[in-house]
Point group: C2
Amino acid sequence: MDLLESISRERNLPVTIQRRVVLNALLDRDDHPTVDQLFEDVKVRMPGVSRTTIYRALETLVELGLARRTNHFEASARFDGNTDHHHHLVCRRCNHVADIDHPSLKKFTPPHLGNTAFKVLDYSIHLEGLCAECQKRGSKSAPKKQTAKRPRALSR
Amino acid sequence: MDLLESISRERNLPVTIQRRVVLNALLDRDDHPTVDQLFEDVKVRMPGVSRTTIYRALETLVELGLARRTNHFEASARFDGNTDHHHHLVCRRCNHVADIDHPSLKKFTPPHLGNTAFKVLDYSIHLEGLCAECQKRGSKSAPKKQTAKRPRALSR
DNA sequence: CTGCCTGCAAACGATTTGCACCAGC
DNA sequence: GCTGGTGCAAATCGTTTGCAGGCAG
């Protein structure tokens, strides 16, 4: 009945108290907490935890498929001069974002939720998966810590 | 014929060379450049620009509706313990993300792009707009610089 | 035991901000 | 001339990393 335990065993990862508490804190909420919100929650049960541990636990939980990031996070913001609405392919491994314009995406029309609750101004469909390059690279190689390097930083 | 100029005039904003060059740099690319990529492009034409200016010009261009951010960016990462696939409402003003489960969203099925190009593992639909609260607040009030504050930072 | 994990502090990198000067209109 | 924009440097803030102990298996 304990998913965390069985999945951890499969991967030969120890089940630490911290990871268990972080997971429970996450499951106890129905919103999309930030690391710091979870940190506060976890601190109640484990006054000694460090924020770093929350970061690492979440990273592990995502790898184990027990949690998700709700924002397609990247180190840096990206901009687009194309203000028409179009959809995106997001590579799970390298985070590369490509535009897509496929006929079957045109068939979708967003629901009208009634202007009271949430006024829909636009919508976009995110297809998540693996880009051609990352498929070739296989699941072994580096999970790709993508930090757009800033050529010469005029350091302080 | 000059969109930047007419929109700027509407809002009583000056048309600076910098903003014009940043917009052109953005339009000249068909990918989703980062601030630093644009900075490099702009530097070719204006050796003296500062990165800060690119940041500020992009912010303005987004406000004017001439550019977009391609990643729903927030200062901090958010996590979700709900690994079922579900869709999101993203408020343009306050960046709040809510889950949504509306019947009409079920009708959508993602395209198979052929496993060669991009292997779709999952998809999600982002509805962008204004949440109830922000609709009430109207378009006047603070654009909401949302920085999840970290209670007591044990400062150095 | 052995390896992965934790906590701490310092490093990092993207973005923001305060300030003095300059440019559109 | 007034208002808002720019450039610079320093500050911020989220996140990552190096390292010395600790704990799960």
